[in-house]
């Protein structure tokens, strides 16, 4: 049994009296895609924020490739090889598409020329290489999401956290993203994906973790999760989207 690339042990996160995450534990093996699902407010993004260093967990430990992440700042977490995208996409609006991705690439090099090459490579992967000089703020939502993926991949991560990267996209755009995710997996990069699109999650995930009201409700293979009565009940309890 190899060391998991990401090991989440009894993580809790409190805000005042509210437990946004409560005793969550699971681990991820290198190269896999973990789906993280749960109704709105289940604590998924909070967990992402804890993992990537935006705030430390109130309790518990997070290990990434053997390093204890608690209390590390987001920039150090990125340098260690973990990158994340945002639920509400965050382009660097007044910078160009190419410059956006170069910012990511500059995490690994000090040379603008090298960064530019690395950035163009990522843009080719996500098929945005036809408009490198366009302003990021002017892109439609689908392209902004792809840009964000290209940008995080430019930081040469070993683990990528994707937060509802398909949110707000039409079916063909979602399909593009799904293919991207699978392509990223082929490149050997581990991924954790928060998503509400169940069909997509079923397709791409090797394993799924279900959160509900801050607690881990279930964990297992996709078909196990789908048949889990508690999971179904948790989703039915939430209003229809």
């Amino acid at each position: 049994m190899t060391t998991p690339i990401l090991d989440i042990r009894h993580v809790s996160r409190f805000f005042g009296g509210l437990a946004a995450n409560s005793d969550v534990s699971f681990s991820m093996q290198e190269g896999m895609i973990m789906g993280l699902i749960g109704p709105n407010g289940a604590g998924k993004t909070t967990l992402f924020n804890c993992i990537t260093g935006f705030y430390p967990p109130s309790r518990g430990d997070i290990f990434f490739r053997g390093h204890r992440l608690n209390g590390l700042t987001p920039d150090k977490v990125c340098k260690l090889g973990m990158a994340r995208t945002w639920q509400k996409v965050r382009p660097l609006a007044k910078m160009t598409v190419l410059d956006n991705v170069m910012v990511g690439a500059l995490a690994r090099t000090n040379s603008l020329a090298t960064a530019s090459e690395m950035a163009m490579q990522q843009l080719r992967h996500v098929r945005l290489d036809h408009k490198p000089k366009a302003l990021a703020g002017g892109l439609p939502i689908g392209e902004r999401k792809k840009l964000e993926v290209a940008r995080v991949l430019a930081t040469q991560p070993t683990l990528v956290l994707l937060d509802e990267v398909m949110g707000g996209l039409n079916p063909s755009e979602s399909e593009e993203i799904i293919l991207l995710i699978l392509d990223t997996k082929r490149r050997g990069i581990t991924q954790m994906v928060i998503e509400h699109d169940m069909k997509a999650i079923m397709r791409i995930s090797d394993r799924i973790v279900v959160l509900n009201s801050g607690e881990k409700l279930a964990e297992g293979l996709p078909r196990e999760i789908v048949e889990n009565q508690e999971v179904v009940a948790a989703y039915l309890g939430e209003s229809v989207e």
Binding site: D75, R90, P91, A93, M95, V103, L106, N110
Partner: protein
């Protein structure tokens, strides 16, 4: 004609260097010196405010440190200013880094407030530490020592010409540094911080470190302009170098021209300096009278004649309001927007032409 901008720049540079050979009027040299000073101040503020998005309205602090340290070293310790300016710059940078480490965890308007408070603290210290800074009386300089290199006296600083060249070189250096920053990893990181701090953080950018780098560069050149100002004008006191008005002036130079660009502060300086000089020299009121807008001997006329010269700060205030309301991207941004709109209009017309 991609080399056109470079050629233009070279022509301007040569013109500026040759200027004193053709123009002897001390007043013209004076205006140019003020222009260079404003360019340095604007470009310096731009590094922190324009690129990195941290709007400091307390940069008078660094201006003051540069001015006071250089002056005090010269007056009390008889250190020639071309030596004394270096410890002044070092002190300004160190002070800036200390302040930055404390205040950079604040965001947006809270950072602005903190920067104002810091500058006020510096001003109050200068005002009250009478033993060191002479308090409200300020420091008056005797003449600058002559600049002697290898036995030859290059200048004794009696005419304005040496200040002209010093100012010109300083302005060029500041612009060159801004250009260098913009085209380096620093520039990318600064702008990323401005656009979205949290995203930048998650992309491996240590925020406080890079903000401090931007501040250090910014404070360095602001302090240098302070030293230059002190030596050129010959008198400083807390009321002229450490007030919020001074800080606002730096910001104004940038936002009038266009924040976050290299040309912006230059344009801003070109607008502000002639404007304040025209006010001071009563040119504006003279113009109003010549245009018969107001009768010179009427009450309004007399009032204008007496007061327009002091209306500096009022004009600054009006300019700020106008720029923020109508041209938040500054003159350069406004021009760029106009060009883009015309291009789109032409493209649309061409497409229509092709379609029909």
């Amino acid at each position: 004609m991609r080399s056109l901008p470079v050629l233009l720049l070279a022509a301007v540079a040569i013109g500026l260097f040759a200027f004193p050979a053709f123009v002897e009027s001390p007043y013209a040299l004076h205006v140019m010196i003020l222009l260079f000073l404003a360019v340095v101040q604007g470009e310096a503020w731009n590094v922190l405010g324009g690129y990195t998005g941290q709007y400091s309205v307390g940069h008078a602090a660094w201006f003051g440190v540069g001015a006071y340290t250089t002056m005090m070293l010269m007056q009390y310790e008889h250190v020639a200013p071309w030596w004394g300016v270096w410890p002044a710059l070092a002190l300004a940078v160190v002070a800036a880094l200390v302040v930055g480490s404390i205040t950079f965890r604040l965001r947006g308007p809270y950072f602005v407030l903190a920067s104002i408070a810091v500058a006020e603290i510096f001003r109050l210290v200068a005002l009250n530490w009478k033993d060191v800074t002479n308090g409200a009386e300020g420091i008056l300089t005797s003449d600058l020592p002559p600049l002697v290199v290898g036995g030859h006296t290059i200048t004794d600083f009696v005419s304005k010409v040496p200040f002209y060249y010093a100012g010109l070189v300083l302005a060029f250096i500041t612009i060159a540094v801004n250009w260098g920053v913009q085209h380096s990893k620093l520039g990318y990181y600064f702008q990323a911080i401005r656009e979205d701090q949290d995203a930048a953080h998650s992309l491996g950018i240590p925020l406080t470190f890079y903000k401090n780098v931007a501040l250090a560069i910014s404070a360095f050149f602001t302090a240098w302009s302070g030293a230059f100002y002190a030596l050129y004008v010959g008198f400083i006191d807390p009321g002229t170098v450490l007030t919020t008005e001074v800080s606002v002036q730096f910001v104004l130079i940038c936002i009038i021209g266009g924040i976050g660009t290299i040309g912006g502060p230059v344009v801003g300086a070109l607008v502000l300096v002639p404007l304040s000089e025209a006010l001071r020299a009563n040119l504006l009121s003279d113009l109003v009278f010549k245009l018969r807008l107001v009768d010179e001997s009427s009450r309004t006329g007399l009032f204008l004649k007496d007061n327009l010269a002091h209306a500096h700060a009022l004009i600054y205030g009006i300019l700020v309001v106008i720029v923020i309301l109508f041209m938040p991207e500054g003159v350069l941004g406004w021009v760029r927007g106009g060009l883009a709109r015309r291009r789109r209009g032409a493209a649309g017309g061409a497409a229509e032409g092709a379609a029909s």
